[in-house]
């Protein structure tokens, strides 16, 4: 079983690409080679990081919509990760829900899942809940990105937040001080390399801070993916018609 992971947010600059990158590294560290998709064909941030493994698409174009969804639903040797740009958000989910994408992906042993990063305001959580309800049995993982700021207590006590928080499909991207984050975002720095055998020279305490954050965040990702895998019904026997 492989995943078709969609990293989404209704807002700009919410940490989608960072999360997509971490998800990719999670699979890479496990020895796999995930297929990645940029939906911002101009900035194409994932393509910059993983040039050999990323396809950049423009979801305004029907041909690119077809390329993305047909690919995401197809049988796979690896998981796939889509960095869903804020501009493409609405069109993407309309397409996902108007077509038989989820059904067809599952028929090919591909499990779609949305990792959704809300903002910190009440409306964000309302939108998250609406999206989760729309998605039906396609799971939504709520990702709280600590870099976006504190979520006020009044919001945490609200219905939307509580309804979303009451699920094992939740994770946190913890805070990492700005100078360390800047280093992590350097073009030359590969997270998997950093974890295995770092080649970039840096002061030991800096290295420890960053390593600690990476391990914690990858741990969150691993936990959630395991949780998703456990929910899966027993794999269907191979279709006699293939």
């Amino acid at each position: 079983m492989n995943f078709a992971i969609i990293v989404a947010s209704a807002r700009v600059r919410s940490g989608k690409t960072l999360l997509a990158r971490l998800l990719a590294e999670n699979f890479i560290l496990a020895g796999a080679r995930p297929a990645l998709f940029d939906t911002d064909p101009v900035a194409a941030p994932l393509s910059a990081r993983f040039p050999a493994d990323t396809i950049a698409l423009d979801l305004e174009r029907v041909t690119d919509q077809m390329a993305l969804f047909d690919e995401l639903a197809a049988e796979a040797a690896n998981s796939r990760i889509v960095d869903l740009s804020h501009q493409s958000f609405r069109r993407f989910f309309d397409l996902l829900l108007d077509s038989e994408f989820v059904q067809e992906a599952r028929a090919n042993d591909v499990e779609p899942v949305v990792f959704y990063i809300p903002g910190t305001d009440a409306e964000s959580f309302q939108q998250a809940r609406l999206l989760r309800d729309r998605l039906g049995d396609c799971p939504l993982v709520l990702v709280e990105n600590a870099h976006l700021g504190e979520i006020r207590l009044s919001i945490r006590h609200g219905d939307d937040y509580r309804s979303l928080a009451d699920s094992p499909l939740r994770m946190v991207v913890p805070a990492l001080d700005a100078p360390y984050m800047t280093l992590l975002e350097e073009p030359g720095l590969s997270i998997s390399e950093f974890v295995r055998a770092p080649t970039v020279r840096m002061a030991p305490d800096m290295r420890n801070e960053i390593r600690s954050w990476v391990v914690k965040t990858l741990g969150e990702i691993y936990r959630v993916l395991q949780s998703l895998q456990r929910r899966m019904p027993d794999p269907r026997p191979p279709s006699p018609y293939r």
């Binding site: 029907v62 041909t63 919509q65 077809m66 969804f69 047909d70 639903a73 397409l95 108007d98 077509s99 038989e100 994408f101 067809e104």
Partner: protein, 248 residues
Amino acid sequence: MKPAVLIIGADKGGVGKTTIARTVLDYLRAKSMPARAFDAEFPRGTLKRFHPGSTEIVDITATGDQMKILDTLTSSDARITVIDIRAGLLSSTLRAFHDAGFFDAVRAGDFNFGLFHVLGPSVASLEEIAEVMPYAENGAYFAVKNFVNETSFFDWDPAVKAKYFERSKDAADINIPKLTEMACEAVELAGVPFSTFIGNKTAAGGPGNYSLVLRGYVRTWLMQVAAEYERVGVLKRLSPGETPASVA
């Protein structure tokens, strides 16, 4: 339910009349309403290509073929007979049917009649309406604007529209929404009814292997078209005064 005749015509070519006829056949099938179709695009028949089982090709200018349609209205299992008239032949066909006594029979209550008048985007359409609408005096008239190819239509002047529409007791507007070009083309290429394309099957019933995304587009569009037909009550108007139970 009394047999009903639904004529789908246009006085201008290229307005998407046959596309609309195809959606009507899918709609009637979805509503479990037995229907048959006559494709007056003699001899080539585009409608027959897509709905071969339910369509017969006729030469609507030939009296013999006109009789073939009209004489079998009561005997046919189909409750609704859809006739896709070749572009430019609408007025003359209506006249021929009139001369054959069809509209007298409609007035006498033997049959129900509906007209899907597929309009072109220019103001000249208003004159076509004036010419054609009188035939629908005792039936249902539907002015159909086809936005499938995103043509922009002139805006109806409310006073002018009222003047033209008051002549039919039962006139309605239908807007067929746009369907993205690649999806249209894919269905054309597949040569199957819209519902079959959505079901990802070929005409023979095998796997269609059509794009997931294009199937989604067609499905959403066909649902919007069906919603329009529901909104204006196409079936109800083709069987006025009959109880809902007798109409699917």
